[in-house]
Symmetry: C2
Subunit: 221 residues, 2 copies
Protein backbone atom coordinates (compact mmCIF):
# COMPACT_ATOMS: atom_id res chain seq x y z
CA UNK A 1 0.00 0.00 0.00
CA UNK A 2 1.30 3.43 -0.91
CA UNK A 3 2.07 5.76 1.94
CA UNK A 4 -0.60 8.32 2.36
CA UNK A 5 -0.50 11.66 4.07
CA UNK A 6 -3.60 13.25 5.43
CA UNK A 7 -4.62 16.77 4.57
CA UNK A 8 -4.02 18.95 7.56
CA UNK A 9 -7.10 20.32 9.21
CA UNK A 10 -6.46 23.91 10.17
CA UNK A 11 -8.98 23.60 13.00
CA UNK A 12 -6.42 21.44 14.75
CA UNK A 13 -4.12 24.42 15.11
CA UNK A 14 -6.42 25.86 17.75
CA UNK A 15 -4.50 25.99 20.95
CA UNK A 16 -6.35 25.01 24.07
CA UNK A 17 -6.32 27.97 26.40
CA UNK A 18 -5.86 27.58 30.10
CA UNK A 19 -9.50 28.45 30.62
CA UNK A 20 -11.90 31.34 30.66
CA UNK A 21 -12.83 33.23 33.83
CA UNK A 22 -15.69 35.63 34.19
CA UNK A 23 -15.77 37.82 37.26
CA UNK A 24 -18.79 40.05 37.78
CA UNK A 25 -17.80 43.07 39.84
CA UNK A 26 -19.74 45.95 41.39
CA UNK A 27 -22.37 43.78 42.93
CA UNK A 28 -22.84 42.10 46.29
CA UNK A 29 -23.02 38.89 44.33
CA UNK A 30 -19.74 37.75 42.99
CA UNK A 31 -20.09 35.00 40.47
CA UNK A 32 -16.96 33.34 39.27
CA UNK A 33 -17.37 30.94 36.44
CA UNK A 34 -14.21 29.15 35.48
CA UNK A 35 -14.34 27.01 32.40
CA UNK A 36 -11.18 24.96 32.44
CA UNK A 37 -11.11 24.19 28.74
CA UNK A 38 -8.05 22.00 28.91
CA UNK A 39 -9.65 19.92 31.63
CA UNK A 40 -12.93 19.56 29.78
CA UNK A 41 -11.05 18.63 26.64
CA UNK A 42 -9.15 15.97 28.52
CA UNK A 43 -12.38 14.55 29.91
CA UNK A 44 -13.63 14.32 26.36
CA UNK A 45 -10.44 12.70 25.22
CA UNK A 46 -9.54 15.83 23.32
CA UNK A 47 -6.00 16.30 24.44
CA UNK A 48 -4.57 19.75 24.76
CA UNK A 49 -1.61 21.34 23.04
CA UNK A 50 -3.07 20.41 19.72
CA UNK A 51 -1.06 23.06 18.03
CA UNK A 52 1.45 20.25 17.61
CA UNK A 53 -0.99 18.16 15.61
CA UNK A 54 -0.83 20.60 12.74
CA UNK A 55 2.82 19.72 12.30
CA UNK A 56 2.32 15.99 12.58
CA UNK A 57 1.78 13.63 9.73
CA UNK A 58 0.66 10.02 9.50
CA UNK A 59 2.36 7.78 6.98
CA UNK A 60 2.66 4.07 6.34
CA UNK A 61 5.55 2.65 8.34
CA UNK A 62 8.64 1.28 6.64
CA UNK A 63 11.02 -1.36 8.00
CA UNK A 64 13.38 1.46 8.92
CA UNK A 65 10.83 2.88 11.37
CA UNK A 66 11.02 -0.12 13.67
CA UNK A 67 14.16 1.14 15.39
CA UNK A 68 12.20 4.21 16.52
CA UNK A 69 9.08 2.23 17.49
CA UNK A 70 10.77 -0.49 19.54
CA UNK A 71 11.86 1.73 22.50
CA UNK A 72 8.34 2.95 23.27
CA UNK A 73 6.77 -0.38 22.31
CA UNK A 74 9.05 -2.08 24.82
CA UNK A 75 8.42 0.53 27.51
CA UNK A 76 4.64 0.31 27.09
CA UNK A 77 4.54 -3.50 27.07
CA UNK A 78 6.97 -3.84 29.98
CA UNK A 79 4.81 -1.47 32.06
CA UNK A 80 1.96 -4.02 31.74
CA UNK A 81 -0.63 -1.28 32.25
CA UNK A 82 -2.33 -1.01 28.88
CA UNK A 83 -1.53 -4.01 26.64
CA UNK A 84 -2.16 -7.74 26.92
CA UNK A 85 1.14 -8.51 25.25
CA UNK A 86 3.76 -10.78 26.71
CA UNK A 87 6.27 -8.49 28.48
CA UNK A 88 8.98 -11.02 27.64
CA UNK A 89 8.60 -10.54 23.88
CA UNK A 90 11.96 -10.31 22.17
CA UNK A 91 12.57 -7.43 19.81
CA UNK A 92 12.21 -9.76 16.82
CA UNK A 93 8.90 -11.15 18.08
CA UNK A 94 7.67 -7.64 18.77
CA UNK A 95 8.69 -6.49 15.30
CA UNK A 96 6.76 -9.32 13.66
CA UNK A 97 3.72 -8.65 15.84
CA UNK A 98 3.63 -4.91 15.24
CA UNK A 99 4.92 -4.50 11.70
CA UNK A 100 3.01 -7.48 10.22
CA UNK A 101 -0.16 -7.52 12.30
CA UNK A 102 -2.09 -9.86 10.01
CA UNK A 103 -1.62 -12.19 7.09
CA UNK A 104 -4.56 -10.40 5.47
CA UNK A 105 -3.83 -8.18 2.49
CA UNK A 106 -5.91 -5.51 4.19
CA UNK A 107 -3.45 -4.67 6.92
CA UNK A 108 -1.18 -1.73 7.52
CA UNK A 109 1.18 -0.22 10.07
CA UNK A 110 1.49 3.55 10.35
CA UNK A 111 3.67 6.06 12.17
CA UNK A 112 2.95 9.57 13.35
CA UNK A 113 5.94 11.80 12.67
CA UNK A 114 6.58 15.42 13.57
CA UNK A 115 7.92 18.10 11.24
CA UNK A 116 11.46 16.81 11.83
CA UNK A 117 10.48 13.25 10.93
CA UNK A 118 10.73 12.03 14.53
CA UNK A 119 8.41 9.06 15.16
CA UNK A 120 5.96 10.00 17.94
CA UNK A 121 3.66 7.00 17.80
CA UNK A 122 2.51 4.08 15.71
CA UNK A 123 -0.63 2.14 14.86
CA UNK A 124 -1.46 -1.06 13.07
CA UNK A 125 -4.76 -2.12 11.54
CA UNK A 126 -6.21 -5.29 10.06
CA UNK A 127 -9.42 -7.32 9.74
CA UNK A 128 -10.43 -8.28 13.27
CA UNK A 129 -11.34 -11.84 12.27
CA UNK A 130 -11.22 -13.88 9.06
CA UNK A 131 -14.16 -15.26 7.08
CA UNK A 132 -17.57 -14.10 8.32
CA UNK A 133 -15.91 -11.53 10.60
CA UNK A 134 -13.67 -9.93 7.97
CA UNK A 135 -15.90 -6.88 7.49
CA UNK A 136 -14.84 -5.59 10.92
CA UNK A 137 -11.49 -3.84 11.27
CA UNK A 138 -9.37 -3.65 14.39
CA UNK A 139 -6.29 -1.69 15.36
CA UNK A 140 -3.67 -1.05 18.02
CA UNK A 141 -2.08 2.26 18.96
CA UNK A 142 1.08 3.23 20.83
CA UNK A 143 2.37 6.71 21.57
CA UNK A 144 5.86 7.50 22.80
CA UNK A 145 5.68 8.58 26.44
CA UNK A 146 7.55 11.78 25.59
CA UNK A 147 4.91 12.74 23.01
CA UNK A 148 1.74 12.19 25.02
CA UNK A 149 -0.86 14.92 25.27
CA UNK A 150 -0.11 16.26 21.79
CA UNK A 151 -2.97 14.59 20.00
CA UNK A 152 -0.81 11.83 18.52
CA UNK A 153 -3.23 9.05 19.47
CA UNK A 154 -6.14 11.01 18.10
CA UNK A 155 -4.42 11.64 14.78
CA UNK A 156 -3.39 7.97 14.47
CA UNK A 157 -6.96 6.85 15.18
CA UNK A 158 -8.56 9.40 12.84
CA UNK A 159 -6.28 8.11 10.10
CA UNK A 160 -7.19 4.52 10.98
CA UNK A 161 -10.92 5.34 10.76
CA UNK A 162 -10.34 6.89 7.32
CA UNK A 163 -8.38 3.84 6.21
CA UNK A 164 -11.04 1.40 7.44
CA UNK A 165 -13.78 3.40 5.73
CA UNK A 166 -11.85 3.58 2.46
CA UNK A 167 -11.12 -0.16 2.60
CA UNK A 168 -14.83 -0.91 2.86
CA UNK A 169 -14.99 -2.22 6.43
CA UNK A 170 -18.42 -1.87 8.05
CA UNK A 171 -17.18 -1.20 11.58
CA UNK A 172 -14.16 -1.11 13.85
CA UNK A 173 -13.79 -3.19 16.99
CA UNK A 174 -11.21 -2.87 19.75
CA UNK A 175 -11.09 -6.17 21.60
CA UNK A 176 -9.25 -5.36 24.82
CA UNK A 177 -9.27 -1.75 25.99
CA UNK A 178 -8.03 -1.67 29.59
CA UNK A 179 -10.81 -0.03 31.60
CA UNK A 180 -8.36 1.86 33.81
CA UNK A 181 -6.72 3.45 30.75
CA UNK A 182 -9.19 6.31 30.89
CA UNK A 183 -7.41 8.65 28.46
CA UNK A 184 -7.69 5.97 25.79
CA UNK A 185 -11.28 5.04 26.64
CA UNK A 186 -12.34 8.70 26.52
CA UNK A 187 -10.47 9.35 23.29
CA UNK A 188 -12.12 6.38 21.57
CA UNK A 189 -15.50 7.55 22.84
CA UNK A 190 -14.82 11.06 21.50
CA UNK A 191 -14.03 9.44 18.15
CA UNK A 192 -17.37 7.64 18.00
CA UNK A 193 -16.62 4.33 19.72
CA UNK A 194 -19.03 2.76 22.17
CA UNK A 195 -18.39 0.21 24.89
CA UNK A 196 -20.18 -2.97 23.77
CA UNK A 197 -19.33 -4.68 27.02
CA UNK A 198 -16.72 -5.15 29.70
CA UNK A 199 -15.19 -8.43 30.77
CA UNK A 200 -14.67 -8.06 34.51
CA UNK A 201 -11.16 -8.56 35.91
CA UNK A 202 -9.77 -9.72 32.57
CA UNK A 203 -6.61 -7.59 32.90
CA UNK A 204 -4.02 -7.96 35.65
CA UNK A 205 -2.75 -4.42 36.33
CA UNK A 206 0.50 -4.17 38.31
CA UNK A 207 -0.83 -1.36 40.52
CA UNK A 208 -4.62 -1.67 40.40
CA UNK A 209 -4.98 -5.45 40.41
CA UNK A 210 -7.61 -7.06 38.24
CA UNK A 211 -9.45 -4.53 36.11
CA UNK A 212 -11.96 -4.92 33.29
CA UNK A 213 -11.32 -5.10 29.57
CA UNK A 214 -13.72 -3.16 27.39
CA UNK A 215 -14.81 -4.34 23.97
CA UNK A 216 -15.39 -1.13 21.99
CA UNK A 217 -16.79 -0.68 18.51
CA UNK A 218 -17.69 2.02 16.05
CA UNK A 219 -19.95 1.64 13.01
CA UNK A 220 -18.57 3.14 9.80
CA UNK A 221 -20.60 5.13 7.32
Amino acid sequence: MAPRSRPQDSSRTTKASGGTARLQRGSPWITVVVIPKQSIDNQLGIRGRRGDASRMQIRTATDADWAAIWPFFHEIVAARETYTYDPELTEEQARALWMSPSSAAQSRTTVAVDADGTVLGSANMYPNRPGPGAHVASASFMVDGAARGKGVGRLLCEDMITWATDEGFRSIQFNAVVASNEPAVHLWQALGFQIAGTVPEAFNHPKLGYVGLHVMYRPLP
Copy 2:
Protein backbone atom coordinates in the same frame (compact mmCIF):
# COMPACT_ATOMS: atom_id res chain seq x y z
CA MET B 1 -0.51 -33.20 29.51
CA ALA B 2 -1.82 -36.63 30.40
CA PRO B 3 -5.16 -37.61 28.95
CA ARG B 4 -7.88 -37.51 31.51
CA SER B 5 -11.21 -39.23 31.60
CA ARG B 6 -14.11 -37.79 33.51
CA PRO B 7 -16.14 -39.77 36.00
CA GLN B 8 -19.47 -40.57 34.45
CA ASP B 9 -22.48 -38.93 36.03
CA SER B 10 -25.33 -41.39 36.12
CA SER B 11 -27.81 -38.52 36.20
CA ARG B 12 -26.93 -37.95 32.58
CA THR B 13 -28.56 -41.24 31.63
CA THR B 14 -31.99 -39.68 32.03
CA LYS B 15 -33.67 -39.82 28.68
CA ALA B 16 -35.67 -36.80 27.67
CA SER B 17 -39.16 -37.91 26.75
CA GLY B 18 -41.00 -36.50 23.79
CA GLY B 19 -43.31 -34.64 26.16
CA THR B 20 -46.22 -35.20 28.49
CA ALA B 21 -49.84 -34.70 27.45
CA ARG B 22 -52.78 -34.56 29.84
CA LEU B 23 -56.25 -34.77 28.37
CA GLN B 24 -59.19 -34.37 30.74
CA ARG B 25 -62.24 -36.15 29.36
CA GLY B 26 -65.87 -36.37 30.46
CA SER B 27 -66.29 -32.70 30.95
CA PRO B 28 -67.50 -29.84 28.83
CA TRP B 29 -64.11 -28.34 29.46
CA ILE B 30 -61.35 -30.04 27.62
CA THR B 31 -57.98 -28.98 28.87
CA VAL B 32 -54.97 -30.12 26.96
CA VAL B 33 -51.67 -29.40 28.57
CA VAL B 34 -48.69 -30.37 26.52
CA ILE B 35 -45.32 -30.04 28.16
CA PRO B 36 -42.76 -30.50 25.41
CA LYS B 37 -39.89 -31.51 27.66
CA GLN B 38 -37.42 -31.83 24.82
CA SER B 39 -38.26 -28.33 23.68
CA ILE B 40 -37.92 -26.85 27.16
CA ASP B 41 -34.63 -28.67 27.62
CA ASN B 42 -33.39 -27.26 24.35
CA GLN B 43 -34.34 -23.77 25.42
CA LEU B 44 -32.29 -24.28 28.54
CA GLY B 45 -29.39 -25.64 26.53
CA ILE B 46 -29.99 -29.06 28.03
CA ARG B 47 -30.01 -31.17 24.94
CA GLY B 48 -32.12 -34.29 24.83
CA ARG B 49 -31.08 -37.89 24.36
CA ARG B 50 -28.52 -37.56 27.09
CA GLY B 51 -28.49 -41.27 27.61
CA ASP B 52 -25.62 -41.16 25.14
CA ALA B 53 -23.58 -38.92 27.39
CA SER B 54 -23.09 -41.72 29.89
CA ARG B 55 -21.21 -43.65 27.25
CA MET B 56 -19.11 -40.72 26.11
CA GLN B 57 -15.68 -39.86 27.31
CA ILE B 58 -13.47 -36.81 26.92
CA ARG B 59 -9.76 -37.35 26.35
CA THR B 60 -6.83 -35.32 25.14
CA ALA B 61 -6.61 -35.47 21.36
CA THR B 62 -3.73 -37.18 19.61
CA ASP B 63 -2.40 -36.44 16.14
CA ALA B 64 -4.28 -39.51 14.93
CA ASP B 65 -7.61 -37.91 15.86
CA TRP B 66 -7.28 -35.16 13.26
CA ALA B 67 -8.54 -37.40 10.45
CA ALA B 68 -11.83 -37.77 12.33
CA ILE B 69 -12.03 -34.07 13.28
CA TRP B 70 -11.33 -32.58 9.85
CA PRO B 71 -14.62 -33.65 8.16
CA PHE B 72 -16.86 -31.91 10.69
CA PHE B 73 -14.40 -29.03 11.15
CA HIS B 74 -14.54 -28.43 7.42
CA GLU B 75 -18.32 -28.77 7.27
CA ILE B 76 -18.83 -26.34 10.15
CA VAL B 77 -16.39 -23.74 8.83
CA ALA B 78 -17.67 -24.00 5.24
CA ALA B 79 -21.22 -23.40 6.48
CA ARG B 80 -20.08 -19.98 7.79
CA GLU B 81 -22.86 -19.97 10.36
CA THR B 82 -21.04 -20.30 13.66
CA TYR B 83 -17.29 -19.65 13.27
CA THR B 84 -15.25 -16.65 12.18
CA TYR B 85 -12.71 -18.90 10.50
CA ASP B 86 -11.62 -18.52 6.91
CA PRO B 87 -13.76 -21.02 4.92
CA GLU B 88 -10.83 -21.40 2.52
CA LEU B 89 -8.53 -22.86 5.18
CA THR B 90 -6.58 -25.81 3.83
CA GLU B 91 -6.58 -29.00 5.85
CA GLU B 92 -3.02 -28.34 6.99
CA GLN B 93 -3.87 -24.80 8.12
CA ALA B 94 -6.93 -26.10 9.91
CA ARG B 95 -4.93 -28.81 11.63
CA ALA B 96 -2.41 -26.27 12.92
CA LEU B 97 -5.18 -23.96 14.10
CA TRP B 98 -7.18 -26.62 15.89
CA MET B 99 -4.57 -29.05 17.19
CA SER B 100 -2.06 -26.37 18.33
CA PRO B 101 -4.33 -23.52 19.38
CA SER B 102 -1.67 -21.59 21.25
CA SER B 103 2.06 -21.41 21.76
CA ALA B 104 1.32 -21.32 25.50
CA ALA B 105 2.24 -24.39 27.54
CA GLN B 106 -1.25 -24.19 29.03
CA SER B 107 -3.13 -25.33 25.96
CA ARG B 108 -4.90 -28.52 25.05
CA THR B 109 -7.12 -30.10 22.42
CA THR B 110 -9.68 -32.72 23.42
CA VAL B 111 -12.06 -35.10 21.73
CA ALA B 112 -15.36 -36.56 22.84
CA VAL B 113 -15.56 -40.22 21.91
CA ASP B 114 -18.37 -42.72 22.25
CA ALA B 115 -18.09 -46.24 23.61
CA ASP B 116 -16.78 -47.43 20.24
CA GLY B 117 -14.10 -44.77 20.16
CA THR B 118 -15.84 -42.76 17.44
CA VAL B 119 -14.95 -39.06 17.66
CA LEU B 120 -18.19 -37.07 18.15
CA GLY B 121 -16.72 -33.64 18.77
CA SER B 122 -13.63 -31.73 19.76
CA ALA B 123 -12.54 -28.72 21.80
CA ASN B 124 -9.41 -26.72 22.28
CA MET B 125 -8.45 -24.44 25.16
CA TYR B 126 -5.70 -21.95 25.89
CA PRO B 127 -4.95 -18.65 27.64
CA ASN B 128 -7.13 -16.03 25.93
CA ARG B 129 -4.33 -13.45 25.86
CA PRO B 130 -0.68 -13.37 26.89
CA GLY B 131 0.89 -11.27 29.65
CA PRO B 132 -1.60 -9.38 31.81
CA GLY B 133 -4.49 -11.32 30.23
CA ALA B 134 -3.06 -14.81 30.75
CA HIS B 135 -5.25 -15.59 33.78
CA VAL B 136 -8.30 -15.86 31.49
CA ALA B 137 -8.84 -19.06 29.52
CA SER B 138 -10.67 -19.39 26.24
CA ALA B 139 -11.85 -22.33 24.16
CA SER B 140 -13.53 -23.44 20.96
CA PHE B 141 -15.93 -26.33 20.49
CA MET B 142 -17.12 -28.31 17.49
CA VAL B 143 -19.57 -31.20 17.40
CA ASP B 144 -20.09 -33.53 14.43
CA GLY B 145 -23.45 -32.76 12.83
CA ALA B 146 -24.42 -36.43 13.16
CA ALA B 147 -23.86 -36.33 16.93
CA ARG B 148 -25.75 -33.16 17.83
CA GLY B 149 -28.37 -33.22 20.56
CA LYS B 150 -26.53 -35.88 22.55
CA GLY B 151 -24.90 -33.59 25.07
CA VAL B 152 -21.49 -33.71 23.37
CA GLY B 153 -21.00 -29.94 23.52
CA ARG B 154 -22.03 -29.88 27.17
CA LEU B 155 -19.61 -32.64 28.09
CA LEU B 156 -16.75 -30.97 26.18
CA CYS B 157 -17.43 -27.67 27.92
CA GLU B 158 -17.80 -29.19 31.38
CA ASP B 159 -14.42 -30.83 30.86
CA MET B 160 -12.97 -27.52 29.69
CA ILE B 161 -14.26 -25.74 32.81
CA THR B 162 -12.66 -28.43 34.97
CA TRP B 163 -9.38 -28.08 33.08
CA ALA B 164 -9.35 -24.27 33.38
CA THR B 165 -10.12 -24.47 37.08
CA ASP B 166 -7.39 -27.06 37.70
CA GLU B 167 -4.88 -24.99 35.71
CA GLY B 168 -5.52 -22.00 37.93
CA PHE B 169 -7.28 -19.69 35.48
CA ARG B 170 -9.52 -17.11 37.13
CA SER B 171 -12.19 -17.02 34.42
CA ILE B 172 -13.13 -18.20 30.95
CA GLN B 173 -13.95 -15.87 28.07
CA PHE B 174 -15.49 -16.73 24.72
CA ASN B 175 -14.67 -13.91 22.32
CA ALA B 176 -17.05 -14.45 19.43
CA VAL B 177 -20.24 -16.40 20.09
CA VAL B 178 -22.56 -15.92 17.12
CA ALA B 179 -25.77 -14.45 18.56
CA SER B 180 -27.98 -16.48 16.19
CA ASN B 181 -26.39 -19.73 17.40
CA GLU B 182 -28.98 -20.01 20.15
CA PRO B 183 -28.29 -23.61 21.15
CA ALA B 184 -24.69 -22.65 21.92
CA VAL B 185 -25.61 -19.39 23.67
CA HIS B 186 -28.16 -21.19 25.85
CA LEU B 187 -25.79 -24.04 26.64
CA TRP B 188 -23.04 -21.64 27.73
CA GLN B 189 -25.55 -19.76 29.86
CA ALA B 190 -26.69 -23.04 31.44
CA LEU B 191 -23.04 -23.72 32.25
CA GLY B 192 -22.59 -20.41 34.07
CA PHE B 193 -21.51 -18.05 31.30
CA GLN B 194 -22.86 -14.53 31.03
CA ILE B 195 -23.00 -12.23 28.03
CA ALA B 196 -20.58 -9.38 28.79
CA GLY B 197 -21.62 -7.55 25.66
CA THR B 198 -22.59 -7.94 22.03
CA VAL B 199 -20.84 -6.33 19.08
CA PRO B 200 -23.65 -5.54 16.65
CA GLU B 201 -23.46 -6.96 13.13
CA ALA B 202 -19.96 -8.32 13.64
CA PHE B 203 -20.77 -11.66 11.95
CA ASN B 204 -21.88 -12.05 8.34
CA HIS B 205 -24.31 -14.97 8.34
CA PRO B 206 -25.09 -16.51 4.92
CA LYS B 207 -28.82 -16.71 5.64
CA LEU B 208 -29.49 -14.10 8.32
CA GLY B 209 -27.16 -11.34 7.16
CA TYR B 210 -25.22 -9.37 9.75
CA VAL B 211 -25.79 -10.66 13.27
CA GLY B 212 -24.12 -9.84 16.58
CA LEU B 213 -21.16 -11.52 18.22
CA HIS B 214 -21.44 -12.06 21.96
CA VAL B 215 -18.49 -11.86 24.30
CA MET B 216 -19.29 -14.35 27.07
CA TYR B 217 -17.43 -15.04 30.28
CA ARG B 218 -17.62 -17.19 33.36
CA PRO B 219 -15.76 -16.61 36.63
CA LEU B 220 -14.06 -19.69 38.05
CA PRO B 221 -14.08 -20.63 41.74
